[in-house]
Symmetry: C2
Amino acid sequence: MKLKDQNTEATILEAAKHIFMEKGLYGARMQDIANQAGINKALLHYYFRNKERLFDEVFGGALERYFQNMDIISDETLPIIERVLTYSNRFVHFLAEYPQMSIFLIKEISSNQALFHLKVNGIKKDKKYSLLTLLNEGIRNGELPSLDPVVFLMNLHSMCAYPFVAAPIFQVICQSSGVQWADSNHEKLLNSIHDFIHFKLSKSNL
Amino acid sequence: MKLKDQNTEATILEAAKHIFMEKGLYGARMQDIANQAGINKALLHYYFRNKERLFDEVFGGALERYFQNMDIISDETLPIIERVLTYSNRFVHFLAEYPQMSIFLIKEISSNQALFHLKVNGIKKDKKYSLLTLLNEGIRNGELPSLDPVVFLMNLHSMCAYPFVAAPIFQVICQSSGVQWADSNHEKLLNSIHDFIHFKLSKSNL
DNA sequence: TCATGGTTTAACCAAATGGTTAACAAAGGT
DNA sequence: ACCTTTGTTAACCATTTGGTTAAACCATGA
């Protein structure tokens, strides 16, 4: 009975992640979280003062992990195009590992932008390691062709993230056209994204 | 006082759209909707039996409009690539007109997939006018290069829809890199999407 | 052993919320 | 004028839900 002890808090957080990701802030019930964690509801309030704080923890954690994943961490001596390819790989694999993450963030961000801005300001974002900075640098020094870095970033992120966000919609589209749908074949997706990166960032394509 | 009469129902629906799109099914309060419509809460139940039915109306309507927009309606004598370009134009302009639409659908679909499948089955989807069918046809008869139509469709939809879905995230990314962010410049986006379509669907690119 | 302090629970509470009721108002047909 | 139907409201109700409380539990050190 007392085996849990210190990990009770972790158990609760795990359960809260699960429920909040599925139901969202408003849809989630404290009782559901308690059930999921296998504990009494009052214990939630013992570890986390109230629903808002518990949610903050989950939301903030997810945001942080999400934005961490957007740093360019690859070897600085590599050509920019290689680093962007690596970036897209990391992004897709990250999303494949946490398929609900994007949906959760988008849901909650859209329904509480104030909290989002508050939380995101608390996360240190290093300009030095951002994709936009890298692109701008490459364009300035001629390593990349001249293109709009914001549009490119949007295209890239879109192609990486939206398949996870809109998976149920894509399933239905495929079904209704009688096309087979392989849920987990992210390699094909990545190949196409790599093609796109080469297309946009290779100078030979001009 | 009695001026409204027949349009009360429409007023309620309009208010419900507004509130549900902003807050989602769980976050929306019947009282909020009544306030937004400027009427008594009981009147909601007079026109729509309960919250679920009112939501169904909004959700179903949104779904229908969304999927209607996915029909290929352009002139059949045009080259396929032209028709796909037109398709992307329509899609982006549609989303630009209803920027919350995608987020709303994704939110609610992800938190109630059963309802989604139920509703979507009630919408007649004509294989004949689907993008996938068109692509398959073009590939079969050699008008298009050989490519995976599902991946292409995912890429295309992603680039069109995700900028609206993740607008707040993109804003933050741009801000934190000190890049100016023009919210409404969809023409740049469309240009890039058109480039992509040409890149993928032109045989000359092989 | 037993006192102590952190941990856990059952029972409870107040507020919020979806939904109902009964009465009233307006309009239209007779 | 009067009855019926439709539209509208204030007040009310039952349930759900986030949150609290007081008591119990249990490991541990004096």
